[in-house]
Point group: C2
């Protein structure tokens, strides 16, 4: 007799918290990109826009570091935001190698609208989870992040 499976069990993987984090993140990312598509943004271009709004005059290299992506991969993202006139890219007068990034009024407005939509989407996803649980989750996730920084040092 050949063995056959009726219902697939992923029990051994469910033992790992990381597995649950991956599955939840897949859901969150799909939802988020769905929300952001209404503004012609993706997760990465939205994050870039938010950081430029929050940090007027940020350099491309600083932005790449903050987004944890390589400098070459940022170029096309910045190109697009600039072409849509959501940001400006000006030479730094005291160091003409660098560009300073700033959001335009249109950029700040789009960022606000997108942030509201993203916030509503988060609230819907997390509505069953009370504030205390959320902050203990965030605290735990921050500890994991910190863990990797201490490994690298």
């Amino acid at each position: 007799m050949q063995p056959q499976i009726d219902k697939v069990s992923d029990a051994p993987l469910r033992e790992f918290v990381g597995y649950h984090i991956k599955r939840a993140f897949n859901v969150i990312q799909a939802d988020l990109n769905d929300v952001l598509s209404r503004f012609d943004l993706r997760m990465i271009s939205y994050s870039a826009l938010v950081l430029i709004v929050e940090n007027p005059g940020i350099r491309q290299s600083q932005l790449a570091t903050a987004l944890a992506i390589e400098r070459p991969n940022l170029v096309v993202i910045i190109d697009e935001l600039e072409k849509r006139e959501l940001i400006t890219r000006d030479r730094l007068l005291t160091d003409r190698r660098a560009y300073l990034l700033q959001a335009t009024l249109a950029g700040r407005r789009l960022c606000d609208k997108a942030a509201t939509a993203v916030g509503a989407h988060e609230e819907a996803l997390f509505e069953e989870i009370d504030k205390d649980t959320r902050s203990s989750i965030v605290d735990a996730l921050n500890r994991i992040e910190a863990k990797s920084r201490e490994d690298r040092s």
Copy 2:
């Protein structure tokens, strides 16, 4: 005067739990792939091997569904596991379109060794987080996953 940024603030992004989940997941994935590279496995091929060990006789289409990847993308993963003689791929006698996947002894042994290493790696990452907090995190993540399933229905 041109505005310049000394220290980049990602405060607006940190408001979103999803942002923390993404950052933590990046750390977990990098660490996990590092651990698995010792066994010449990646996250996806390890997950596939675990599910084949746990579900002897699983079909490729069932495995693709469980891994949440498309059938074409599974082929190359299965090819590699078969070439390494970690799994066997046999025709189902009652439906000669389908393949049944089973782990070999070598496959089960590698899976065990890898699972031990992955478990140790998880334990190190989560050591500061007590059992109760872990299970409340897993519970919350499961609710988020369930949320997306109810949206799609």
